[in-house]
């Protein structure tokens, strides 16, 4: 009985949180499933692809051990960590999708005839997905948000990306990747207010098998929520580190 009470209590809270999500509609509203436009906030609390990453390769384990995050079981004070974010280095596409796509810093999708744009509020970063039928190039310079092409499979928008700069982390837990990583994203607008995202990350240098994400769910933000300018300003970050973060971590530079 107590277990049942406990389950009901947690289910009630979970349902309440879902219902309280901005933009959540009480009744279905007509929508175009091939129009992904809007400012989206994620509802999933998991800030990584999934809780069950595939095993590392020896190189993947070595790189993971070298990354010192400030979250999770390996957390160290940022002053003694090496999270690229602490210097305003670009987060990279996967971390943009995973970390900052939360209610505080949402993501906006804008579609044009030949491209889909995603604007990530934190870091004032964007990526473009080419939808003009071009294939991914055979070779290209590496970039933090990679090179992406998209196509429709029914009402699912499928994005394939590669050519990622390997200096970024996949998430704030310090998951590494290599420049050989490829990513497939599958977006579906389930109703006007709900966008689903499933991802498959393939990086044989780092993981022994593809890493399939949990189902990520995003909710349409209210119309009043517009993407703001949220640069990570290196000089501000450096001042913050000098006055706050480093002394708090017991570090004098």
């Amino acid at each position: 009985m107590v277990r049942a009470f406990c389950a009901v209590a947690i289910a009630t809270v979970t349902a309440g949180l879902t219902a309280a999500t901005p933009g959540h509609a009480q009744a279905p509203v007509p929508h175009d499933p091939r129009d992904l436009s809007g400012v989206w906030t994620r509802t999933s609390a998991s800030l990584t692809l999934s809780q069950t990453p595939p095993p590392f390769t020896p190189l993947g384990k070595k790189l993971f051990d070298a990354n010192k995050p400030s979250y999770g079981p390996r957390a160290v004070p940022p002053a003694v960590g090496n999270d690229p974010m602490g210097n305003c280095d670009p987060l990279g596409l996967v971390r943009n999708l995973l970390l900052e796509l939360v209610a505080v810093y949402p993501m906006e999708i804008v579609q044009t005839p030949n491209r889909m744009f995603q604007f990530f509020e934190w870091g004032h970063s964007y990526r473009q997905v080419w939808t003009d039928g071009r294939p991914l190039p055979k070779d290209a310079d590496l970039t933090f948000n990679g090179i992406s092409t998209g196509r429709w499979e029914g009402d699912t928008f499928v994005v394939t990306s590669g050519f990622f700069d390997d200096r970024s982390w996949l998430d704030h837990f310090g998951m590494p990747h290599s420049s050989e990583m490829t990513l497939e994203e599958r977006y579906r607008r389930l109703d006007r207010d709900t966008l689903e995202l499933n991802m498959t990350l393939t990086d044989p240098k780092i993981f022994t098998a593809p890493w399939v994400s949990e189902r990520k769910v995003m909710k349409l933000a209210p119309r009043s929520r517009e993407i703001a300018e949220q640069f990570c300003v290196p000089s501000q970050e450096a001042e913050f580190n000098r006055i706050v973060r480093d002394p708090a971590g017991g570090v004098v530079r």
Partner: protein
Amino acid sequence: MRGVIQRCLIATVALVASTSVFAHHGTNASYDPTKAVTLTGVVTRFTFRNPHSFVEFDVKNEQGEMVHWVGEMNSPTVLREAGWTATTIKAGDELTMTLNPSRAGTPRGVVNRMRPILVNGKQVLGTGGSNEN
């Protein structure tokens, strides 16, 4: 059974809490959430900008020496949602706030907005919010 209900309540509260502690700057790895210190001093600067806002203030310790404390707060985006602005605290204000202090023992702390914040003797805004973001 009481223990089970207690654990259930803790789990439920933790579930609620977990929705508000999304963070992107690892703040709580530096501070000790099990300790709290309430300080009163005079503000020298309030910096309301990314990545995190912070307030600097001078506090006289038990030996009568002036100690320069810095309280880390949330990003402006989060604080604005709670009604804060860049002028909620100003240089010269007398400030009382509760901090979870640095694990390193330095005069740094993360501001606990669940506890009252007094500016010139008056409570500013309501209490609430997490330390992160």
